[in-house]
Each structure stands twice: as structure tokens, then as C-alpha cells.
């Protein structure tokens, strides 16, 4: 995610630049036992982690690619590099970060944002986290914000307690793949009664060609605590496909609250196949704010597992499908305890032949009495070439529940355009206004800097579309 104004006008994707690839260690193309062992050895991992990876590799090989949604048959695992480390070191000061990499983050605006309004930042470049820093104040209160590799070494008991418990290795083919070759990602631990009112941010950047990024993130927020985690992603434009397959597990304890904001702006050569799940205990609150602007194929359905009574979950999902993009997004709410509530709100915009689908699941288990769920999905089509679909599934095993579902599909109407243009706005400006108005209910939930940036990104892609 970015806060910097860019002067690039003609290209709608501003982050498509790349730096020369300088690897300190890189595995050969393809995935097999040797590659997985090489990653683990290079990282000098404890045996339990190496075994975790190797077991996951076996499961990955057995699992089939998903039979629903976008076509993944062109995704060739033999032509991907599964681990590419840009540097042997991690840094706590930007001044120490190698120049090319620092340049990249400066262009994206990460150090500037850190100074202005973040409590901590982590920056991942290809496979490794190159920079991480948490402001002292939070460290003193016992907050942990570090990369997952460091966490495995420094806090093994915490990692082992949570790793793979919410997203099991065998959940799907890509959770198994991530478990086998994961590298980087964030580890956040907020002790009981600590509230971190300003956000922590991770920024994920793919730089090298045809490389996979497999970060693994665990967030544990103890009783009564609060954290807001933001992640942003971007990559250069390449003709070879890249793969991003992350696994995120979030644990919201009794009375705690977590907000997870994600702005995915991968370039058009990236497959984004991500498994995200949040488990919410008694009276806890979990929120996903999920913005999907980029990538070629995106499959992402953040889940809310409402485990304790009175737990609340909310998902605000936004998908923008432009030319050659297939956004298959949505969310899941699994109600396991009484009086739990969930709200899933999804908005999608399709243009220039892009395709956006909402795929959602609401499950209310037997015994989850008095639970409520509300689902709303709205789609906006900018032309006749583009497509929008809705695939909602409800699995209700309890009588005493409330369930609401609303859906709408609208087209940018001739009347709306004429009205705005009659006031002196050109077609691009008018269309941008309509689109920005449509997504406003989600954008208003973002921190101001991100809201401004999101609107700017939408305006940029409109210029590309109509001009």
C-alpha cells in the first residue's frame, strides 16, 4: 500500500517497475523434497519445522487443485522458483537496507508512512522479510511484531501452539503448499489488556520473475486487547506468471478485537491463492477489510470462525476486475456458539472484460442458537463485456437463527453519466466518481491515507480504461 503521489499517468499500474534481481540464495525451479529441505537448511530451522514442511509436501502432492472458480490449469509448478532470498540479513533501520530494495520501498512510500502513522512496519521482498521494526513503546508493553522466521527461533512454543491449528495443512492444496515452502510473513502477539490504537503494517513485494511468495502469518490477540494489522502487496509486470499463496491464522481471544485490512494490488501476472481464517472467542470482535484490486487470478475467502458465545465477525470485501482479471472472492462465516453474529458485505466492480465472483458460505452449527448473519453483495458492471456472478451457500443446522441475504447487480447507467457530464465532468471523471461512490461504504472503513490511495488507484485504472 502506498501513500506517495505518482506522476505516472499513462500506465494504470504504478508499481510495475522492477529492480535487478540479486539473490543471496535461490532454489532451482520446481518443487520436490530437495527444494523443501534446502529451504529449511538454509534457514537453519529446528527439526520440528523441517518435519512439518516435509509432511506438508506429501499432502500437497496428493491434493487436487480446486474444482471450482477460476481455471488454474496454466499454473505450472515446474516453472516457478519457490524460494528466493534477496539478502542474508534483516534490518531494523531503513538506512541499512540495500539500495535497490530501499528504492523500491521508497517508491511505494513505506518508510514515509511508518514515520507518519504506523506503530510498526515489516517489509518482505520476494521470500524474506528484509526490514522489521516495532516502535519501542509497544515492545515495552510486551507486544511482539516480527517476521515468522524469527518467531520460529525466538518464540517456538508460541508458534507451535498456534501454527496450522486454524488452517490445517491439509485444508486445501495451497495451504499444504504454503506449509511446505513458507517463508516470511508476520508474527504478532498482543498480551492481555493491551490495545495498540495505531496500525501495524506489513508490505509484501515480489521483485524477481516467476517466483512464488509464500508468507505465513499468525496473529494472537489475548483477552481484552486490540490490534489493527494492515497489509499491502505489489509486484512488477512480467509476462511469466508468479504465485502468491499465503496462509493467515488470526486468534481473537475473549473480549478482544482484531481488524485485518488487506489491500492487494498485485500486478496482472500474479496468481493470488490465499487462505485466511480468524477464530473469535467469547464476545470478541473480528473484522476483515479485504480490498482486491490486482492479480490475474485471485481466490480469497477470508473466514470468520465464531467460536465463543456472543462473538461478532464482519467482512467488508471489495473486488475490482479489469482486463484479463478474474476476482473470485467472498468470505465465510462459521457460527459455532450461541448468539454469534456475522455480517458479510461484498462489492465488486468489473470492466473491460474482467470477471468478479462472490463466493460465500454461512454455516450455523447445531446449538448456535440466537445467531444472526447478514450477507449483502453488490456488483457494478462498467460495460457489456464484463461479468459478475454470485455463489452463496447457506448451511443452517439450527432453528432459532436470523439470516438475511441481499444481492444487486447494476450497470453504470447512461442517465448517471449524462447527469454528471452535464455539469462539466468528462466521461472518465464521471465514471470514476460513480465507481468511487459505489465502493464508498468500504473505503470509509480504511485509514484516511489508504482511502485516498484507493480512490487514486481506481481513478488511474479508469483513465486506462476509457481514454
Amino acid at each position: 500500500m502506498v501513500m506517495k503521489k505518482s506522476s505516472i499517468k499513462n500506465n494504470s499500474y504504478t508499481y510495475g517497475f522492477h529492480k535487478p534481481e540479486k539473490s543471496s540464495f535461490k532454489t532451482p525451479l520446481g518443487i520436490n523434497q530437495k527444494v523443501v529441505e534446502a529451504i529449511s537448511n538454509y534457514k537453519n530451522e529446528p527439526l520440528w519445522m523441517k518435519e512439518f514442511r516435509l509432511k506438508a509436501l506429501k499432502i500437497f502432492k496428493q491434493k487436487k487443485i480446486p474444482s471450482f472458480g477460476p481455471d488454474l490449469s496454466k499454473l505450472n509448478f515446474d516453472k516457478l522458483c519457490f524460494y528466493n532470498s534477496p539478502s542474508n540479513n534483516k534490518f531494523r533501520k531503513w538506512a541499512d537496507v540495500p539500495k535497490d530494495i530501499l528504492d523500491t520501498y521508497n517508491k511505494i512510500g513505506v518508510p514515509e508512512a511508518e514515520k507518519k502513522f504506523l506503530a510498526g512496519v515489516e517489509a518482505q521482498y520476494d521470500s524474506e522479510v528484509i526490514y522489521s521494526n516495532l516502535k519501542n513503546h509497544w515492545e515495552k508493553l510486551g507486544v511482539i511484531f516480527t517476521d515468522m522466521d524469527t518467531a520460529v527461533k525466538k518464540y517456538p512454543e508460541l508458534v507451535r501452539k498456534y501454527l496450522g491449528t486454524l488452517v490445517p495443512v491439509d485444508d486445501n492444496k495451497f495451504s499444504a503448499l504454503n506449509s511446505a515452502v513458507w517463508s516470511g510473513g508476520s508474527f504478532i502477539y498482543v498480551p492481555k489488556g493491551v490495545s495498540v490504537p495505531i496500525p501495524l503494517q506489513a508490505y509484501f513485494r515480489i521483485n524477481a520473475k516467476a517466483v512464488g511468495q509464500f508468507e505465513r502469518t499468525i496473529i494472537v490477540v489475548e483477552e481484552g486487547s486490540f490490534v489493527h494489522y494492515i497489509e499491502g502487496c505489489s509486484a512488477p509486470i512480467y509476462t511469466n506468471d508468479s504465485l502468491h499463496a499465503a496462509v493467515v491464522e488470526v486468534f481473537v481471544k475473549k473480549g478482544a478485537r482484531v481488524r485485518y485490512t488487506s489491500i492487494q494490488n498485485w500486478s496482472g501476472s500474479v496468481y493470488n491463492l490465499v487462505t485466511k481464517r480468524m477464530q473469535i472467542e467469547e464476545n470478541g470482535i473480528g473484522e476483515w477489510i479485504d480490498g482486491n484490486l490486482g492479480s490475474k487470478v485471485n481466490m480469497k475467502y477470508p473466514a470468520l470462525v465464531l467460536k465463543g458465545k456472543g462473538a461478532r465477525g464482519e467482512l467488508l470485501s471489495l473486488a475490482y476486475a479489469g482486463k484479463n482479471q478474474y476476482q473470485d472472492t467472498g468470505g465465510k462465516a462459521i457460527h459455532l456458539a450461541p448468539n454469534t453474529t456475522s455480517t458479510l458485505i461484498s462489492k465488486s466492480v468489473s470492466r473491460s472484460g474482467g470477471r468478479a465472483s462472490y463466493r460465500g458460505l454461512v454455516k450455523i452449527a447445531k446449538g448456535a442458537k440466537g445467531s444472526k448473519s447478514h450477507v449483502r453483495c453488490d456488483a457494478l458492471l462498467l460495460d457489456d463485456k464484463s461479468r459478475s456472478d454470485t455463489y452463496p451457500v447457506n448451511d443452517i443446522q439450527e432453528q432459532d437463527v436470523t439470516l438475511g441475504h441481499e444481492a444487486s447487480v447494476s450497470k453504470v447507467g447512461e442517465q448517471q453519466l449524462f447527469y454528471l457530464m452535464s455539469r462539466g465532468l468528462n466521461e472518465t471523471q464521471a465514471t470514476s466518481l460513480i465507481v468511487n461512490g459505489f465502493i464508498e461504504p468500504i473505503v470509509k472503513e480504511l485509514p484516511l491515507e489508504y482511502a485516498v490511495e484507493l480512490n487514486r488507484l481506481i481513478n488511474l485504472s479508469m483513465e486506462g480504461a476509457i481514454a
Partner: protein
């Protein structure tokens, strides 16, 4: 400031081929008020939309000129920049688009960098102008026409006109569905505009014309202007109806 809007022998069809306007000619000069009257379905709203450049109509003959410049083929935004404004009969709702932000964007379109309104200055200006039209809520915080009552929509169109300062404004039934007070606020605002403008007011009623005192009244029936006259023509129509006056033959 533009001095004349000229409509010359205009023939218009709908996209599906139905002939709607059959040779309309009108000259509107700065500071003139023209009332355009006529029974429903006669082509008044079509004329208004065609002057603004609505893409749903085909001009088969004739032209529209602003100070001699032919604007017949220009897009609506370019016409707006040449000083044309259309007050919509049914203003369109645009959810999520803030009224003041949108209008500032539009108002700044024709301005040089130094002249552009800042968000705060513009917001204050909108509030000041809106006060004269009496809105029950702060319009600068609302979305464009979304959830507006019928009266609020009509007032908001006039408010937009006062801020965009066009040279020529076509107001399509600015008075329909208004209560007595709202009609008064709208009429007073139109009469007290702080810039020169040529007005075309489409209406069915004498009420608004009492305030506006038109210089010319035109009657448009079945795609043609069949009669033009002064304010007394509007009074005769109000009294006797179109049929009695024009079906005598």
C-alpha cells in the same frame, strides 16, 4: 460571457427512430427569460436534453450554436464548459458521491490553477447559497441526490446552477411537485442570480411565471413551436387550456 444560444431548425429522432422535434428554432439572449410550455409528450424535455447533448437522441437536421459556435456534435461536458446548464426534471441519484465534492470538481473544471476553490472555501460557499433555498439538513454532508425528497432534488438543481454560473440554463419543470414555500425560495433564487444568464424555463404552471415574469412564452406542441408571445400568452393558457386555444380550427 456568452451572449446568445441559437437553436436553428432542429429535427430530432429518438434512437428507435421516432420523430420528436420537427423544426424548432429559438434564440435566447443573455438576461432573457423564456418560458416553454405545452402539453405532455410535446417534446419540451427532449429539446432540453438535446441542447445539453443527451446521447439517446439523433439530430437529423438543424444545429445548436453558442455565440456562433456550432455545438451540435459536442459531448455534454464540453457544452457545460461553454456555459450550458440543464436543471433536470428528474435529478439522478449517485450513491456514495458527496454533493459538495462533486460540485467543487465541476466548478473547478473551467478555472485556472489559482482560481480553483479549496474544499473548505467551496463548502462554505455551498452552505451560504443553500441557506437561501432552506434545506433541512446540511447538504454538503449528503450524497448527490441520494435519499433527497422531491422538493430537495429541485432545490439542489437550482443550487448547482447558482454555483456553476452558466451563461444559459434550461430548467426542466423546476416547479413541479413543490410546496408554496419551496416555490418561493426557488423563484427568489432564480431572480437574484449574481451573474448574467439566459433562461429557458419549462413549466406547466402560471405560479412560477408570476415570480419570474418571462420575456417570452413559447408553446411547443407535437414537436413544433406553434405560438410565441409575451407573458399574457401564459395567462391565456392557464385560463383556457391548450385545446381551447389551439384546436379552434
Amino acid at each position: 460571457m456568452k451572449k446568445s444560444l441559437v437553436i436553428e431548425n432542429l429535427y430530432v429522432k429518438s434512437v428507435d427512430g421516432k420523430e420528436i422535434l420537427k423544426g424548432i428554432s429559438l434564440i435566447i439572449k443573455q438576461n432573457e427569460i423564456h418560458a416553454l410550455m405545452g402539453p405532455n409528450g410535446g417534446g419540451k424535455s427532449t429539446l432540453a436534453q438535446v441542447i445539453m447533448g443527451h446521447p439517446g437522441f439523433v439530430i437529423t437536421k438543424g444545429k445548436i450554436l453558442v455565440d456562433g459556435k456550432n455545438i451540435t456534435k459536442l459531448s455534454p461536458d464540453k457544452r457545460a464548459k461553454l456555459g450550458i446548464f440543464l436543471g433536470f426534471q428528474y435529478p439522478i441519484e449517485v450513491p456514495g458521491v458527496n454533493f459538495a465534492n462533486f460540485l467543487r470538481m465541476a466548478a473547478n473544471e473551467n478555472k485556472t490553477k489559482n482560481e480553483k476553490f479549496s474544499p473548505i472555501a467551496f463548502r462554505n460557499l455551498v452552505k451560504e447559497k443553500a441557506a437561501k433555498l432552506v434545506f433541512s439538513e446540511d447538504i454538503t454532508k449528503r450524497f448527490l441526490n441520494e435519499g433527497f425528497s422531491g422538493g430537495e432534488k429541485k432545490k439542489a438543481e437550482i443550487l448547482q446552477m447558482t454555483l456553476l454560473k452558466p451563461s444559459f440554463a434550461i430548467l426542466d419543470e423546476p416547479d413541479s411537485g413543490l410546496d408554496v414555500d419551496a416555490l418561493k425560495y426557488i423563484s427568489k433564487t432564480i431572480m437574484n442570480l449574481d451573474f448574467p444568464v439566459g433562461l429557458v424555463v419549462i413549466t406547466h404552471y402560471q405560479r412560477i411565471l408570476h415570480y419570474l415574469k418571462p420575456d417570452f412564452v413559447h408553446v411547443l406542441i407535437n414537436g413544433k413551436i406553434i405560438k410565441s408571445g409575451g407573458a399574457d400568452l401564459a395567462e391565456a393558457i392557464e385560463k383556457n387550456g391548450y385545446e381551447k386555444i389551439f384546436n379552434k380550427k
